[in-house]
């Protein structure tokens, strides 16, 4: 969606614009990446280099996953001109259900005993099912009974937070199953070798996607960008992916912890042995979810209809699209993502608490909006929302490292949200998109 072909002639900037136009890079995405880099550099300066260490980058990524997962679903919700205020509460209900499955239902009632290998998958499936059903129910109230999404999910915000409380009798439930905990972040990572394998596969997939897109354009005799432009984009992607892997691999597992894991297997650790954490499973999960959501958004009918219905609900209806069923599907996807997010959030804490996910609805909406999703509907990207979540988390972690108190952090985040939307409005006015 670039308007650059018709850009007004502005002599001073034309060369810069032409370069971007040739590369066919979304300038909005570029702006966000730029903002993210500035945030990182500023905090790195303020913390004397502590912000951009492998350890902090590792922590930043695992802290972002939970909100980022839900933000991808919030894009669909907002694109269809709806809103979901209940995601934090829904996360809590799913987390409570999964915690009870792991600690009571499966081990005691079903007699599997604690730490049975089936516990984690069955608990997760139950949680996802619950999320899907609750989400679909919200969608049905909104689509078929035509109750505004704001009201339905505001009600949901109260209901599901307290259903979670009811399910657990208001208690903290834990520790959770150790396989389940692998999805929390630092407790489950790929290790150095598999991280490189994952990185290599990601590079191959990216390059393949670039080549396939180009082939398809050539086949239909559309204009393609020059080969050097493709090479530049492929090169940047490759460096970014492998650089990310290298950084996460550089975060070393503390030697005491390594020693213990050797002892557990009845071995002694060789002198000078080190190992990096590598990519956390939760981040792999986010990447997989992101790819699925991007494919859904851009390559399936469902995604096409979501954007069409957001752009002009009447036109969508007249084109034969079942917009009410579409609303149910969108909220069901949101519910599933809340459940997946609940897995990551509770696994990271290693237990379920009453206040898990509190205020997440606001963070998730903010991430989607900072990522360029327009509340007026029809516009938004999945990768933008993830980047939005990352920017918010960087701001918050960075301020915490600098020693800003939590209330002041929230003031800054609030201001940034409003400012980001204003900048977006200015941007859209100038590009006319």
């Amino acid at each position: 969606m670039s308007d650059s072909t018709d850009s007004v002639s502005e002599p001073t900037r034309s060369t810069k614009r032409n370069l971007l136009a040739t590369l066919e890079i979304d300038t909005r995405l570029l702006g966000m990446i730029g903002a993210f880099i500035v945030v990182c550099l500023v905090f790195n300066f303020l913390t004397d280099g502590r912000f951009l260490t492998p350890r902090n980058i590792f922590n930043l990524t695992i802290q972002t996953v939970s909100v980022a997962l839900m933000a991808t679903g919030m894009v669909f919700v907002i694109v269809t001109r709806n809103i979901d205020l209940s995601v934090g509460s829904l996360l809590a209900t799913c987390s409570a259900i999964m915690a009870m499955m792991q600690t009571v239902v499966l081990p005691d009632w079903m007699g599997l005993g604690l730490e049975h290998p089936l516990i984690a998958p069955m608990a997760i499936l139950t949680g996802i099912l619950a999320g899907a059903i609750i989400g679909a129910f919200h969608g049905w109230l909104i689509g078929y009974l035509t109750i505004p999404a704001f009201i339905v999910t505001l009600g949901g915000l109260f209901v599901w937070r307290n259903v979670a409380w009811h399910l657990t009798n208001g208690q903290t439930i834990g520790p959770l199953d150790s396989n389940f905990q692998l999805l929390g972040g630092i407790n489950g990572t790929l290790g150095e070798t598999w991280s490189w394998v994952f990185g290599a596969l990601a590079v191959i997939a990216t390059l393949y996607a670039l080549i396939a897109a180009r082939r398809s354009k050539v086949r239909h005799e559309f204009q393609v960008k020059p080969v050097w432009a493709e090479v530049v984009i492929g090169g940047i992607a490759t460096v970014a992916i492998l650089g990310f892997v290298a950084i996460l691999n550089a975060y070393e597992i503390p030697s005491r912890r390594l020693e213990r894991s050797f002892e557990d297997r009845g071995l002694t650790m060789p002198e000078g042995f080190t190992a990096g954490y590598g990519i956390p499973y939760s981040v792999v999960l986010l990447i997989v979810v992101a790819i699925i959501m991007i494919v859904l958004a851009r390559r399936t009918r469902l995604g096409r209809y979501i954007f069409a219905a957001g752009g002009n609900p009447e036109a969508a209806e007249l084109s034969g699209i079942r917009t009410r069923a579409l609303t149910v599907k969108v909220f069901m996807i949101m519910g599933i993502l809340c459940a997946i997010s609940a897995v990551v959030a509770s696994a990271r804490l290693t237990f379920h608490t009453n206040d898990i996910g509190t205020l997440d609805e606001l963070r998730v909406i903010a991430a989607a909006v900072i990522g360029g999703t327009a509340l007026s509907g029809g516009v938004g990207t999945i990768y933008g929302a993830i980047l939005g979540a990352l920017i918010m988390q960087s701001l918050q972690s960075g301020m915490a490292m600098v020693g800003v108190d939590a209330p002041y952090q929230n003031i800054v985040v609030g201001i940034v949200l409003v400012l980001a939307v204003y900048v977006d409005i200015l941007y859209r006015k100038r590009t006319g998109s």
Binding site: M1, S2, D3, T5, D6, S216, K217, R219, H220, E221, F222, V295, R299, T300, R301, G303, R304, Y305, F307, A308, A309, G310, G311, N312, E314, A315, A316, E317, L318, S319, G320, I321, G378, V379, G432, S433
Partner: protein
């Protein structure tokens, strides 16, 4: 139009005793019209006469209160836009029914996307088809990759018209298709109507321009306050007769 239409066989479409009320307003009140293959029937009337509502009942956009629709002599169940499309009824709506945030190809194929063998939408193929079909209507059109919000009224209209042509409409409803168009584009739409007519497509054309109706249509059905004033062959009446029907609701004596 000089070409004689054979009206002895079964009509392509027949709408019998159609009714639709909104609250107390009888938007369409017991209207019966028909349309034969290769024929253009103008639907005329003052603002608010009920023309669009009548057409929307045929295209499945509005549910009817009562009345029957026959396609090729057989009773048709049309309850939503998908049903109408299955009868190869295509509609170009008065208020352009396009999703502003999508490009021309996405709009043209909306609801009927071309897909790859794996079931993913095939954007490249759809764009190629769009380029072909739109090339005929607006040869200068280049903006295939921008959201249609950025297009002119005429360009948007040609997306809507292309859609109807591409999907082989048998019955085409055009609700003021040239209202947003310039002289040149209007001429092109007129040519297109002639061409579609030759292919045996039946067209229901809503238009306020009497001159154009005289030029393009075979018959004209005039509505006033939701009721049908009458249907006349345009060659057998004068422009003044048509105006009299529209404004006064008076049917000229000689017309059958």
């Amino acid at each position: 139009m000089s070409s004689e239409i054979d009206r002895t066989g079964t009509p392509l479409v027949e709408m019998r005793n159609m009714r639709k009320a909104f609250g107390g307003i009888h938007a369409v009140d017991n209207v019966t019209i028909d349309l034969y293959p290769g024929e253009v029937v103008g639907v005329l009337g003052h603002n608010g006469a009920g023309k669009s509502v009548l057409m929307k009942m045929l295209s499945g956009a509005l549910p009817r209160d009562s009345g029957e629709i026959y396609v090729n002599g057989e009773k048709a169940e049309i309850n939503n836009p998908r049903d109408a499309r299955n009868y190869q009824i295509e509609t170009i709506y008065q208020y352009l029914a396009l999703a502003d945030n999508l490009d021309a190809a996405a709009n043209l194929f909306l609801g009927r996307e071309l897909t790859t063998p794996l079931g993913f939408v095939d954007d490249a193929k759809m764009e190629a088809e769009t380029r072909k079909i739109m090339g005929r209507l607006t040869p200068n059109f280049r903006r295939f990759n921008t959201p249609v919000a950025g297009l002119s009224g005429g360009q948007r209209q040609s997306v809507a018209i292309s859609r109807a042509v591409y999907f082989n409409a048998k019955i085409l409803i055009m609700d003021e298709p040239t209202a947003a168009l310039g002289v040149e584009e209007t001429r092109m739409v007129a040519e297109l109507i002639d061409e579609l007519k030759k292919r045996g497509i039946g067209i229901l054309l809503i238009d306020h321009d009497i001159h154009q109706v005289k030029a393009l249509c075979d018959r004209a059905s005039v509505m006033k306050n939701g009721k049908l004033v009458g249907t006349v062959e345009v060659d057998k009446v004068s422009e003044d007769d048509l105006l009299g029907m529209i404004i006064l609701g008076k049917k000229p004596e000689m017309a059958a």
